[in-house]
C-alpha cells in the first residue's frame, strides 16, 4: 500500500530578481514499510523536496504545483494550520543537525514530551512514562537520567537518538530523515541507521531517507530516487540502480562514492620507489613522530591527555592517514606536527630537524616546509580578500618575489588546482565549497612545502566534489613529490588516497600499517568496527 505519493512537485524560492524554481516536477512513491532514499548533491533540491512535503519550507519558499498524497489525501495545498494535524502524527521529521535542533536550555525529557503535549496529552504522568519508553526504544541507556539531562551533556549520536524519539513519539506512518547522520562519526552513523532500520522492521514505518551519500542509500534503502538540479534522473530498486545505472549522472555518482569502489585501488607507486638512489638515501622518512604526548588542563580535574604516546613515520612522497572518530586525538596530532600546539613530550623529526623544540621564529621558518589545509573551506579563507591575495599570502608573508612575481605565481597555482583564471579577482563568498577547498590547497602549495597536512580536508564536501579533490591531491603528489599527512574519520576516503594508515582511539594508536594490509586483515577490534561502519561496503564485498 502506498503511504506517500508525490507527483509533479514544483517548489520555488523568492530571489532578488523574482521567483526561482528549484524543484521541477519531482515525483515518487513510498510504500508501506519501505525505505526510499532521495540521493543528490547539495543544491539538487533533495532537502527542499523533503521539507516541502510537510510544508516546512523556509521563508520565501512556496509549493507551486503538484500533488503530495499522504494515504490518498492530497495535502499539497494545505495551510500550516491544517498541516499541524499531519506533522508528527502521520509524518515524523528527523532533522539534519542534532546540535542546532534541540533547545539548549530545556532538559531533553521535556522536549520529547512536548510533541505529546502539543497533540493533546494532558496527563503529566502518562507523558513522562511515554517519554521514558521512547528514550529506551531509541537505545539510550538509563532513560530516567537522560530525560533530566540537557542537550550539551549528550554526545552527537545521543542527540540524534533523542530527535528520532521525538519523530516516532506518535507512531507516524512515515519518517522523513533529512541527512540524519551527516554530522556524525562513521560508527555512530551506522548505529543510528541501524536504529532507523529496526524501527522500520518492527513497526512497519516507512522511511524517506535524504542523503548525499550513495553508500548509505545502497546500504539502507529498498528504492533509490536520484535527484539532480531539481529533477528525478533515475528511480528504481536499489539493487538495480547499483548493478546497472542507466543515467550518466548516476554512473558518475557511483564512480565517485568512495565506499562503493569495487576491488582495491592501489595508489600508483611514488617516485622514490622507482628511483634507486633516492631509496638508498639515508632517511626515507619525511616525518618521524616518536612518543608524542599532549595534555590539556581541565579545571578541577586531572589534565586530559588528548594524545598519548603516538608514534608514526611517513615515507617521503607518500600519504599517511590518521584515522579515528572525533575525540580520538587525530586533529591534535596534526596540530602538534604543524606546531600550532607544543607537544608535552616526544619528538617530531621533519626531514632531519626536530621541530618539537623550535622557538617562535624557527616555527615560522618551519611553515616554509609544512602547510596545513583545513576541514572547513568556508571558514579558512578570509572573506574580505580576493582569491589572488589569499593564494599569494604565504609568498607575501615570506617576502618572496615582487608583487608581479607573486601575482604570476598565484595565477599559476590557480591553474594548477584546475580553477578558471577569472576566480583570481573574486572573493571566497562567490565560490562553491569545492572551489574554495581548491583555493585552500593552492595557498598551501604557494610556498612549495615538502609536507602538506590535510585535516579532514574533504569531509565537508559532496561525494562528487570529494572525488575530484582527491584526484587533484593524487596528481599533485605525483608531480611535486609531496608528502601528505591525511587526517580523516572516513575509512572509505582513506583507502582511496593513503599508502599507510594509523588508526587512533582515545589518543593512542591502536593499529598501524600499509593501507591494503590493514583493510584486508585488521587485527585490532576497533579497526574492524570502523571498517564495518563504512556504508555500502557489505554490499560490495558480498
Amino acid at each position: 500500500m502506498t503511504v506517500l505519493s508525490v507527483e509533479g512537485l514544483r517548489v520555488s524560492y523568492a530571489g532578488r530578481s523574482g521567483r526561482r524554481e528549484v524543484v521541477h516536477g519531482v515525483g515518487f512513491d513510498v510504500t508501506e514499510g519501505e525505505v526510499v532514499a532521495l540521493v543528490g548533491e547539495s543544491g539538487s533540491g533533495k532537502s527542499t523536496t523533503a521539507h516541502a512535503l510537510i510544508g516546512l519550507l523556509p521563508e520565501g519558499g512556496r509549493v507551486d504545483g503538484g500533488a503530495v498524497r499522504l494515504g490518498g489525501v492530497d495535502i499539497a495545498g494545505w495551510s500550516s494550520r491544517r498541516l499541524r494535524a499531519v506533522r508528527g502524527v502521520s509524518v515524523g521529521l528527523v532533522p539534519q543537525d542534532p546540535v542546532a535542533s534541540l533547545d539548549p536550555v530545556r532538559p531533553i525529557g521535556v522536549q520529547v514530551g512536548e510533541i505529546l503535549r502539543v497533540h493533546g496529552e494532558r496527563d503529566a504522568r502518562v507523558v513522562r512514562a511515554r517519554v521514558l519508553e521512547l528514550l529506551e526504544r531509541v537505545g539510550l541507556d538509563d532513560p530516567e537520567l537522560r530525560s533530566r539531562q540537557y542537550p550539551h551533556e549528550l554526545s552527537g549520536g545521543m542527540r540524534q537518538r533523542v530527535l528520532i524519539a521525538t519523530a516516532i513519539a506518535l507512531r507516524p506512518r512515515l519518517i522523513i530523515a533529512d541527512e540524519p547522520t551527516s554530522a556524525l562519526d562513521a560508527t555512530v552513523q551506522r548505529r543510528i541507521l541501524d536504529l532507523i532500520d529496526g524501527l522500520r522492521r518492527e513497526e512497519g514505518t516507512s522511511v524517506l531517507l535524504v542523503t548525499h551519500d550513495l553508500g548509505v542509500a545502497a546500504d539502507r534503502a529498498q528504492r533509490i530516487v536520484v535527484l539532480k538540479d531539481g529533477r528525478v534522473v533515475e528511480e528504481g530498486p536499489a539493487a538495480d540502480i547499483l548493478a546497472g545505472p542507466r543515467d550518466a549522472y548516476t554512473r558518475q555518482l557511483l564512480a565517485d562514492a568512495p565506499a562503493l569502489e569495487t576491488g582495491f585501488r592501489r595508489p600508483p607507486a611514488p617516485l622514490f620507489l622507482r628511483d634507486a638512489s633516492a631509496a638508498a638515501a639515508e632517511n626515507p622518512y619525511a616525518i618521524t613522530a616518536t612518543g608524542l604526548v599532549k595534555e590539556f588542563a581541565v579545571r578541577g580535574r586531572e589534565p586530559f591527555r588528548a594524545v598519548d604516546d603516538v608514534s608514526f613515520r611517513v615515507r617521503r612522497g607518500t600519504t599517511h592517514a590518521l584515522v579515528g572518530e572525533s575525540g580520538s586525538g587525530k586533529t591534535t596530532t596534526a596540530r602538534l606536527v604543524t606546531r600550532f600546539l607544543h607537544p608535552d613530550a616526544g619528538s617530531i623529526d621533519l626531514d632531519g630537524t626536530d621541530v618539537a623544540g623550535l622557538s617562535r621564529s624557527e616555527v615560522r621558518e618551519l611553515r616554509r616546509r609544512i602547510q596545513l589545509v583545513y576541514q572547513n573551506p568556508f571558514s579558512s579563507l578570509d572573506p574580505r580578500q580576493s582569491i589572488a591575495q589569499i593564494v599569494a599570502e604565504p609568498l607575501h608573508n615570506f617576502r618572496e618575489g615582487r608583487r608581479a612575481d607573486r601575482a604570476a605565481r598565484a595565477a599559476e597555482l590557480i591553474d594548477r588546482v584546475a580553477l578558471p583564471h577569472d576566480v583570481l579577482d573574486r572573493t571566497p563568498r562567490e565560490l562553491s565549497g569545492g572551489q574554495r577547498q581548491r583555493v585552500a590547497i593552492a595557498r598551501a602549495l604557494a610556498i612549495r612545502p615538502d609536507v602538506v597536512v590535510l585535516d579532514e580536508a574533504v569531509s565537508a564536501l559532496d561525494v562528487t566534489v570529494q572525488a575530484r579533490i582527491l584526484e587533484l591531491l593524487e596528481s599533485l603528489q605525483q608531480e611535486l613529490g609531496l608528502t601528505y599527512l591525511f587526517i580523516s574519520h572516513d575509512l572509505a576516503v582513506v583507502r582511496r588516497i593513503s599508502h599507510t594508515v594509523s588508526v587512533m582511539r582515545r589518543g593512542r594508536v591502536v593499529e598501524q600499517g600499509a593501507t591494503e594490509e590493514l583493510f584486508a586483515n585488521p587485527t585490532h577490534e576497533y579497526t574492524r568496527e570502523l571498517l564495518a561502519a563504512v556504508p555500502g561496503r557489505t554490499e560490495v564485498a558480498a
Binding site: A14, G15, R20, S47, G60, T338
Partner: protein, 317 residues
C-alpha cells in the same frame, strides 16, 4: 574571566544583524538553492547599504537626507537663513512660528530657526570630537586587549569595567570639572564616556576573528603578529565598530545637548542646541516653540543617525 555584558546600544546593532542573518532564509542549504546561479555582483559597503531589495528603504533615504541637511547647516549656515543668530530685534521678541520666523523668536527677538541652523556646527563638531575620542581610544584599547590577550587583556578590560560602572553623566561632569567648561571639553567628556563601549565591542570582535580558521591559516603560512593583525584581524572586526560609531554620533549629540542644557557646555549666547532648549525652559508656559522646536530637531537628527547605524550594522554580516 566574566562574560562581558554588552551595553544595550551594541546589542541593538547586534540583534539587527542577527535578524537580518536569520530572518530571510533559515537553512543555508536552502539559501544556496535559492540563490541565483553565476557570480553575484560585488558591492562596496556603501552600495550594500542601499541594496536592501531593489530599492532602498524610504526611512533610510529620509535619515540620510536629514543628516545631510544637518551637515550643510553646519558647513554653510548662511545659505539657509538670512537672520543673525546672536543679535536680535527686541521689538520682535517672543513671536510664535510664522512664515517670516519659521521657528518663532526668543525673548530678545532672535530668530530661533537661525539659531538652530547656526548651532548645528557646535553640536555636530562636538559630536564628531566625542565620537573620534571614543572610537580612537576605545578601539585601540579593545584591539590591544583582544589581540595580545593574557594579563594585558585582563588589566585593560578591568579598567573598562570601572569606566562602565560609573554613571555616564557623573563621569562626564567629573571630566568637565577637571578640563574646564566649553564646547570642546564637553565633547571630550562625552567621548571619554563612550570609550568603554567601543573597547568592549572591538575586543569581542577581535577575539571572534582571532579564533577563526583563516587567522590561524595566516599564521600557518608564515604571517607575523602585526601582518596578520593588519591584513586579517582589523578589516574583519572593525565593521561592527563603525556601526557603533554611527550610533554613538546620535547619542553624543544628545549628551552634548544635555551638558549644554545643564550649563556645562558652551557659554551663552552660543546657539548650541542644548543651550537653546535650556534657555527656552523659562518660557514653556507662554512660548512653547522655544523648547519644542529645537528639541524636535535634536530628536530627528539623533533618530536619523540611529537609522543609518542600524543599516551599517546589518550590512556588516
Amino acid at each position: 574571566m566574566t562574560a562581558p555584558v554588552l551595553p544595550p546600544e551594541i546589542d541593538a546593532v547586534r540583534s539587527a544583524a542577527r535578524d537580518e542573518a536569520s530572518g530571510v532564509v533559515a537553512d543555508p542549504i536552502e539559501a544556496d538553492a535559492a540563490a541565483e546561479s553565476g557570480r553575484p555582483a560585488r558591492r562596496s559597503t556603501i552600495a550594500r547599504l542601499f541594496a536592501r531589495g531593489r530599492r532602498p528603504s524610504w526611512t533610510l533615504v529620509l535619515a540620510v537626507a536629514v543628516v545631510v541637511i544637518a551637515v550643510l547647516w553646519a558647513l554653510i549656515p548662511w545659505a539657509f537663513t538670512g537672520y543673525d543668530p546672536i543679535h536680535g530685534v527686541p521689538a520682535e521678541k517672543l513671536q510664535p512660528p510664522s512664515l517670516e520666523h519659521w521657528f518663532g523668536t526668543d525673548a530678545i527677538g532672535r530668530d530661533l530657526y537661525a539659531r538652530v541652523v547656526h548651532g548645528a556646527v557646535h553640536s555636530l563638531s562636538g559630536a564628531l570630537i566625542a565620537v573620534t575620542v571614543g572610537l580612537a581610544a576605545g578601539t585601540i584599547i579593545g584591539v590591544v586587549a583582544g589581540s595580545v590577550g593574557g594579563i594585558v587583556d585582563e588589566i585593560l578590560m578591568r579598567i573598562v569595567d570601572v569606566l562602565l560602572s560609573i554613571p555616564g553623566l557623573l563621569l562626564m561632569l567629573s571630566v568637565i570639572i577637571l578640563l574646564g567648561f566649553g564646547t570642546v571639553n564637553a565633547a571630550i567628556a562625552v567621548g571619554v564616556v563612550s570609550v568603554a563601549s567601543f573597547a568592549r565591542l572591538s575586543r569581542s570582535e577581535v577575539v571572534r576573528v582571532r579564533r577563526s580558521d583563516y587567522v590561524e591559516a595566516a599564521f600557518g603560512s608564515g604571517g607575523t603578529f602585526f601582518s596578520v593583525l593588519r591584513r586579517h584581524v582589523l578589516p574583519n572586526s572593525l565593521t561592527a565598530v563603525i556601526g557603533l560609531a554611527a550610533l554613538q554620533f546620535g547619542t553624543a549629540i544628545l549628551a552634548i545637548s544635555t551638558l549644554g542644557f545643564l550649563g556645562y557646555g558652551a557659554p551663552p549666547p552660543t546657539p548650541e542646541w542644548g543651550l537653546l532648549i535650556a534657555e527656552g525652559r523659562n518660557y514653556v508656559a507662554t512660548a512653547w516653540w522655544l523648547t519644542t522646536l529645537p528639541g524636535l530637531v535634536v530628536l530627528v537628527v539623533v533618530l536619523s543617525a540611529n537609522r543609518i547605524s542600524q543599516s551599517l550594522g546589518r550590512s556588516s554580516r
